[in-house]
């Protein structure tokens, strides 16, 4: 196994997860990887590249092509004390496993009154923008956030990705780990010696005064671009990377909105009943007297994800974020 020789080096988000997985496997022999094509191929995004070679076929398991089987056997492995990390090849293919996730993974800790922890991580490359065919660009996070018993996080950059995947694997609860697939190739300097804060914490990634923009996963970059774009015009956006979608960590959000009085939530998932709806409801409940405008949402439209030639019209972008910011000022 290649030792990490430098403390800090530029790595892509995909590679950072790969490094995080490797570290988790080195640290704990109970950690297993399971999924389709994760062995020799290293996964369709190469996130598990080289791991089967180094940890063997018993710990990096190329599974039959059946997502319910992946999650169902992961449940059994977790009952036996293992920590399976399941890769779902693309967001749109998590649904055959939905029953196991919602009725078993989410409930067994509670059903067993804590006797059977479900230490399972479900890695899901999610979101659009890569020019793919149907079912390869979905954002299903709200389905899981609505499900008690699951925890849900999304990483947005290589540094978080490296640490969050390890923290998710160490967690004693089932974690849906959403990876922004169109950011797999984004690079950042990664210092592997410096563990940042806990997994389930939301973070202000850019301070600002006029309006709070909430985002997670792939949209954090978009939100930051929006903030830079309006800086020149003298408008200052506070950008928050939610990082954890269940549980929500709203203290920093409430703080921010109470200061700015305005809030825009951005995600790729369909707007109707997307994460933005819960955020809007909770923020309004808690910051009612501070709000100058209703919380506005910028999301995917309430249609099936469209063919890739028009996906950029479907996905929130800098302009749509700024348009929503403008609208909050119109109130």
């Amino acid at each position: 196994m290649a030792a990490v020789t430098q403390r800090s080096a530029p790595v892509t988000l995909g590679k950072a997860i790969n490094m995080g997985l490797r570290k988790a496997m080195e640290d704990d022999p109970k950690v297993l990887l399971m999924g389709e094509d994760i062995g020799k191929l290293g996964g369709v995004f190469r996130v598990t590249d080289g791991l089967q070679k180094d940890f063997g076929e018993d710990r990096v398991i190329d599974t039959p092509l059946a997502e319910s089987g992946i999650l169902g056997t992961a449940v059994g492995l977790a009952m036996r004390g293992f920590r399976p990390v399941c890769e779902i090849q693309f967001d749109g293919f998590i649904f055959p496993a939905y029953n196991q996730i919602v009725t078993q993974v989410a409930k067994i800790h509670s059903r067993s009154r804590g006797k059977l922890p479900m230490r399972i991580v479900i890695r899901v490359p999610f979101g659009g923008g890569i020019g793919a065919v149907e079912h390869h660009s979905e954002s299903p996070e709200a389905y899981f956030s609505h499900t008690a018993g699951l925890k849900v996080v999304a990483c947005s950059n290589p540094v978080d990705a490296y640490w969050m995947i390890q923290q998710a694997i160490r967690a004693d609860d089932p974690v849906l780990f959403f990876e922004p697939k169109r950011r797999y190739w984004e690079k950042a300097d990664l210092d592997t010696s410096l563990e940042p804060g806990p997994l389930f914490e939301t973070r202000v990634v850019r301070a600002g005064e006029d309006c709070t923009v909430l985002a997670y996963g792939p949209m954090v970059k978009t939100a930051l671009q929006a903030a830079s774009a309006v800086e020149a015009e003298g408008r200052s956006l506070e950008v928050i990377d939610l990082r954890t979608l269940s549980p929500l960590d709203l203290a920093p959000v409430f703080d921010s909105v109470r200061r700015t009085g305005r809030c825009v939530v951005v995600h790729e998932a369909p707007t109707n009943l997307g994460m933005g709806s819960e955020l809007a409801a909770r923020i309004t409940e808690q910051c009612f007297y501070s709000l100058e405008a209703p919380v506005l949402r910028v999301g995917g439209y309430d249609t099936p994800y469209p063919p890739s030639k028009i996906e950029e019209d479907y996905l929130p972008d800098l302009d749509r974020v700024l348009d929503a910011v403008d609208r909050t000022f119109a109130f």
Binding site: M79, R80, N99, Q104, H109
Partner: protein
């Protein structure tokens, strides 16, 4: 012996259909017969212990059904008629083996030393299973049909990886064989040669639907499509079930991969206490199956072979009476769960959000209590 010999009246299609493959070691009349592939050698003590288990789990079941009728349980899923299949399977399990039940395996639970009251508390609505699945090596009941079969395979894959030296025994019904999950579990078990045995109690019905709605061919043949052996055993013959399951578990433990066992039996009662079988099946069918009662044949054999006397049976009956009293008392005295328990154990690491919700819940209820005091 062939199935034609097992003393069924001609009109009884359901039993004759068991076919010549049916493995039997004890006839409905209580006659010991040999089978070329399955031998069994039990001491008189063991045979009597088996009888005792059969009789006591039936007693538990009868008592629970009565408790439900009296409003003490929300619902009860009776094992009536399936005691042979379950006690046979339960006796085949060794300490390191792990059982994955569905919701009707009270007999297997008994063999794993799970207190019947722990089963009853689930059907009373106090919890979703309160026994320790790891200490008893008897997993919690799984209500979503078929889901546990994949868990059993995963657990078995874990045993392969940690050198656990055991096997898993996955229980499911005839209806469950139609679920995708169950078929996926066959694939995984086969591909990984996982130490798992699939134990299907074909009790002829999935609620109201007869087996023909699930399969055109005998269920044990399903296994051959997945590359592992399938056998059909007389599920009302506790000895045959024990022999067949023991052999299959041993094969699993020694790396020979999975086996599918179809325990051919009959649900003598309703699906659950909420069900009304008169809507979909004939009384005559029940009558025919009564002649193959799994307990009567052991009793007949014990008497015929002089391995038990009237005193023994009286003692078991007396023990059953005591057990029934204990269960009744334990049930009616069972405390309701604390409402705040719904917030406990949702997670291993409680979330601040849920901590707050639980606190608000407590406060809200406290407000009633104080309002009550004021009034």
């Amino acid at each position: 012996m062939s199935s034609g010999d097992i003393g069924v009246s001609p009109g009884d299609s359901s039993f004759a259909e068991a076919g010549p493959e049916l493995i039997q070691l004890l006839t409905p009349e209580g006659e010991r017969v040999e089978h070329p592939d399955y031998a069994i050698d039990l001491s008189p003590e063991q045979l009597r212990a088996i009888y005792r288990d059969l009789a006591l789990v039936r007693r538990v079941d009868v008592e629970a059904t009565a408790l439900q009728r009296q409003g003490e349980l929300g619902i009860w899923a009776s094992l009536l008629g399936q005691e042979g299949a379950q006690i046979g399977a339960g006796w085949a399990l060794e300490a390191n083996d792990m059982a994955f039940p569905t919701y009707r395996e009270h007999g297997v639970a008994w063999c794993r030393n799970v207190d019947p009251l722990d089963i009853i508390s689930l059907f009373r609505g106090c919890d979703n299973g309160s026994w320790d699945p790891i200490a008893t090596m008897f997993n919690l009941y799984t209500v979503v049909i078929g889901a546990q079969c994949l868990h059993a395979v995963g657990y078995a894959m874990g045993m392969q990886r940690d050198g656990g030296n055991g096997a898993t025994l996955a229980f499911f019904g005839d209806g469950a064989t139609s679920q995708g999950d169950v078929n996926e579990s066959f694939i995984w078990a086969s591909v990984f040669a996982a130490p798992v045995v699939f134990f299907c109690q074909n009790n002829q019905y999935a609620i109201s639907e007869p087996i023909e709605k699930q399969s055109r061919i005998p269920l044990f043949q399903r296994a051959r499509g997945f590359g592992f052996p399938g056998v059909r055993v007389d599920g009302n013959d506790v000895l045959a079930v024990l022999a067949v399951t023991r052999k299959a578990l041993e094969a699993a433990r020694t790396g020979q991969g999975p086996t599918f066992i179809e325990a051919y039996t009959y649900r003598m009662g309703a699906h659950t206490t909420s069900d009304d079988p008169s809507r979909y099946r004939l009384a005559s069918e029940m009558e025919a199956w009564k002649l193959k009662d799994p307990i009567e044949r052991v009793r007949a054999y014990l008497i015929r072979s002089e391995q038990a006397d009237a005193e023994f049976f009286a003692a078991v009956d007396a023990e059953g009476d005591q057990l029934a009293v204990r269960i009744r008392k334990g049930t009616v005295e069972m405390p309701d769960p604390d409402a705040t328990s719904m917030f406990a154990n949702v997670y291993a690491e409680q979330t601040p959000y849920l901590t707050d919700q639980a606190a608000e819940f407590a406060e809200y209820h406290a407000s009633f209590a104080s309002a009550g005091q004021e009034a």
